[in-house]
Amino acid sequence: MRRSSLVLSLLSLALAGAIATGATAASSADPGITGKTILLGGTSPLSGPASAYASVARGANAYFKYVNARGGVHGRAINYKVVDDAYNPSQTVQATKQLVEQDKVFAIFNSLGTEHNVATRSYLNQMRVPQLFVASGATTFGADYKRYPWTIGFQPSYRAEGWIYGKYLARTKPGARVAVLFQNDDYGKDLMAGLKQGMARSKVKVIAAQPFEVTAPDVRSQISTLKTSGANVLALFATPRHAIQGYVFAERLNWRPLIINNAVSSASNIMTLASEGGTNKAVQNSISIVFLKDPTDVKWRNDPAIKLYRTIMSRHAKGANPKDVYHVYGMAVAYETVKVLKAAGKNPTRAAVMAQTRKLNDVSNPFMLPGIAIKTSATERFPIEQALLQRWSKGSWTSFGGLWGFRAG
């Protein structure tokens, strides 16, 4: 008798709890959030020309599954719906409208590509749906926050990256003469502007710059023009195919400047291709920035975060290649999202989540290099503006020196 009354009271308690959570869930007016789940959605090029970047979404999803298995965020599981856009902005728009209007997601998260996010930005801001942690380094996602308050980026902007190279040259190579190969679009021009800003008022000068169209079959003539300028530093602001060509043609012309290679093309597998089986000497001592822990770097072999990364990958991303650094990127951004959702309170609203993204201050993201801060404020919307420099030697990257932090102005 006593026992059954205990069971009864427990049952009624559970019922009251269920009603209470149901009631709180109903009071939270924003779509995509229930007592048990938070629905995030995003687009990713699972097919098409840029499908190598699909690993970003996959890494993020694996991390959310790991968090869900350990109880989720305030008891809610994070469901992350990834829709293929084949890297076609028209499909990004259709898929994003589907996620917002049909699936009723709480926020758009980690959608990949510059034009793809530009294409959906006005719509999402009009609908007041958070466009969370855009996977693109275009400066506009941080700079135009007044017009698009529901949008925020994540990775270092191209301008900040260029600035770091400029500052590094100004400090360590006074008198350096810099030649720049840059892609003739916003991405290449952002890097170039940052580079010039970083070396302003120093004895380092850009003495030659050669643009190329993204459709150009090769960059041979640009490289030979740059060589004749007499520069002793070459900056490659190009996507992988043209960056590799930059290395190859410099080697063919017997030109051995210090080569700066932008982060877009610095993944180890791309550098290995550029090395041409070790015969390309121009690759040696290349410089690039790094802000994530590279899972192939021996330095992190016993790092707890990278160990955790491997466990999560084997458990929640079957068949994926754990050496792919884009998965680490996905986990880093998912980690930050979990943190933001937790901080936004027990019953987060879209506005509360955006408010949290305006006061990020996190130096402990385990997937980022030690010491890198993820930081924003009301007037500063670039979450990551720090990076280490790394040098390529004997077939792998080694980071060196202290943190470099971008300061505008």
């Binding site: 990713s44 699972l46 097919s47 098409g48 020309p49 499908s51 190598a52 699909a54 690993s55 979404a57 996959r58 999803n61 719906k81 990834v82 829709v83 293929d84 084949a86 890297y87 076609n88 902005p89 028209s90 499909q91 728009v93 259709q94 898929a95 409208k97 589907q98 209007e101 049909q102 510059t114 034009e115 530009v118 294409a119 006005s122 719509y123 009009q126 003739n184 679009d185 916003d186 169209e213 993204v214 459709t215 991303a317 079957k318 068949g319 994926a320």
Partner: protein
Amino acid sequence: MRRADGIRVLVFLAASAGVLLLPRLISDFRAQQLAYVGIYFIALLGLNLLTGITGQISLGHGAFMLIGGYTTAILISHQEPPLELLGHQFTGDMRDIWTIPLAGLVAGFAGFLFGFPALRLSGLYLALATFAVAVAAPALVRKYQGFTGGGGGINLFDVEGRTGGSTTDPITFETTSGVDILGFHISSFNVWLYYLCWTLALVLFAAAWLMLRGRLGRSLRAIRDSELAAVSSGVNLARYKTLAFGISAFYAGVAGSLLALATTFVNPDTFPIALSIFLLVGVVVGGLGSLWPLVFGAIFIHFMQIEWAQKADLVIPDWIPFLGDIDTDAPGAPAVAFGVVLILIMLALPSGAAGLLRTLKSLITRGYHRVR
């Protein structure tokens, strides 16, 4: 013959009424999806006229859609500095719907011009030449970025001339959205898009039917069946082939213009090579040479690209080695699902939806025992 036509007109009117009443029954979001189906239907009508009726394979219709889409985008966008070609500045600011016929005409003219070199090519060689156009078009857009906005594209969401965008009153700051047209108020952009696309689709469908039932249709079909026979019966090969290219590209241009308005953004990646291939797939799934069954092709290519691709794990059975336990977020999963479904359809329905409908019709009219 006349009586059959009368029935056809009645069926068409009934179907039109159904199409126009449909938004009352479906959700706002579905209306938007069906608007895209309407856009693809227009493009398929055009491609079918060339490939299905005239027998000229085109793997380049995405390029004509690109021309249409960019014509609209350049005419309505307001860029700073203005887009420029050969010293002429395009200040934009045109009303979006008036650019649709212009987009069709510009694309149609491009198609007509392409028809001349195409006269010397046939079969596989023509397919390759048109494919080259599809490959080159996005590259050209990037090359002439002063005129096209380059890889960064043109954003149409906030432009003045866009119908259905929300406008803010400068004095009261009240934001209004929706479209007033012919005395009706359409409150949602998606529903407006649906009516715009399907009104044009119905008109262009009727136009295609009228064109093809007369002399033009006979001549084009004659060219498909045997060029030699057509010429000896007095069909002017050059005139009809270039005409077919022109009309077909006009349809593609209108579809491209609508795609730009629906997406509110264009850049070279919006009209990839894959689009041209999807269009050909759509015509084959709908049924080469058919007219209204092309709707099924349009439904197939729209839903297969985005919505059904998300269910890749349902399409591929678990027992298939390597692929069976695929995650839906794995790279390549949607493409694999698309391929599997396409193979199954081609095995089951080699002549597309039109073939299936013919079989069903003969089953009903002639009785089962006569059909083997």
